[in-house]
């Protein structure tokens, strides 16, 4: 699997995800600076977490228009897998690669803790390492994770099995009490129409090594490597 991680000024999870990818592929992904305008032939592009451009104007708004994003969009159109984590998810919505928007958390606080997620679908290269309905523990760290889209858009995401993850309780129930940020319908991650782009607020790369206290994020990277090698 040939992977690249896009690095923006203010990215801070780029190295974490590079380590997680190296664990499953045996070699380090390419690190691509946001000012570059071309990408090599790739199987996977990761848009990592962080605070690109200091979250100026809106989270992800500036990065979505940085020079490299035209190449990312062009590769995504060809079916290259794109994974946006946290700020990466915000960037992908601002770039129009995924529907909706990540608004300020309903409680206004920055939230940094583990949450429980229900895997809603295993039908994607990102989620094939999980069983649909499985509950996993993954950390979140965001101030703007409150997923919003019009009801018709949400209905369509659900009808097309494109909700990848929902915030849930230990039994997998997507209760309001289990929703950390006010996201519509407890949505934590979504797929695009062709199931080749995933955006998610939680950080699988932060729990992909036993030394970090858990490995629930590891199946995502293993599944990607298996599907794309």
């Amino acid at each position: 699997m040939k992977a690249a991680v896009i690095v923006f000024p203010g990215s801070n999870c780029d190295r974490d995800v590079a380590v997680a990818l190296k664990r499953v592929t045996g070699h380090a992904p390419r690190m691509i600076w946001h000012r570059d305008t071309a990408l090599p032939a790739l199987d996977l592009i990761v848009v990592p977490g962080g605070f690109s451009y200091g979250d100026y104007l809106r989270s992800g708004a500036m990065a979505a228009h940085s020079p490299i994003m035209a190449a990312v969009t062009a590769q995504a159109a060809k079916g290259v897998r794109v994974l946006g984590i946290c700020n990466g998810f915000q960037i992908l919505t601002e770039a129009g690669l995924l529907p909706g928007v990540l608004m300020r958390n309903q409680g206004l606080s920055f939230i940094c803790r583990d949450v429980l997620l229900k895997v809603e679908t295993s039908a994607s290269d990102f989620t094939a390492g999980y069983n649909a309905g499985q509950v996993v523990r993954i950390p979140v760290a965001h101030g703007d994770g409150n997923y919003f889209a019009e009801p018709a858009v949400l209905d369509r995401l659900e009808d097309e099995d494109r909700v990848a993850f929902r915030y849930c309780d230990e039994g997998g129930a997507p209760l309001e009490a289990a929703n950390p940020n006010g996201s519509r319908r407890n949505i934590a991650g979504i797929l695009n129409e062709t199931r080749t782009v995933l955006g998610m607020m939680p950080h699988p790369e932060r729990l992909a090594d036993p030394l970090l206290g858990g490995t629930d994020g590891a199946p995502m990277f293993r599944a990607l490597a298996a599907a794309l090698s």
Binding site: M103, Q106, L108
Partner: protein, 80 residues
């Protein structure tokens, strides 16, 4: 020419910051404050002198960057 852009949340989109401001005003003793909605004000110096062209330019800026039209409306005022 100056362009003044107001970006506001659409009706029906929850505004937790506005709510927090509303509660803080109540705590300060300002009674009778109803709904509070918070937005952004952006002032631009535009080289274009023709008002119609300037407005079209700023419209495009709003659609492409200044506002996220999934959740926000924008209003443009031109001066000078």
């Amino acid at each position: 020419m100056k362009a003044k852009v107001h970006v506001t949340l659409k009706q029906g989109v929850l505004d937790p910051q506005g709510k927090a401001v509303q509660h803080a005003l109540a705590a300060l003793g300002f009674t009778g404050v109803g709904d509070v909605r918070q937005g952004k004000f952006i002032e631009l110096d535009i080289a274009e002198a023709d008002p119609a062209k300037a407005k079209a330019q700023v419209e495009e800026m709003c659609r492409k960057l200044l506002a996220n039209t999934v959740i926000e409306n924008y209003a443009i005022d031109l001066e000078g």
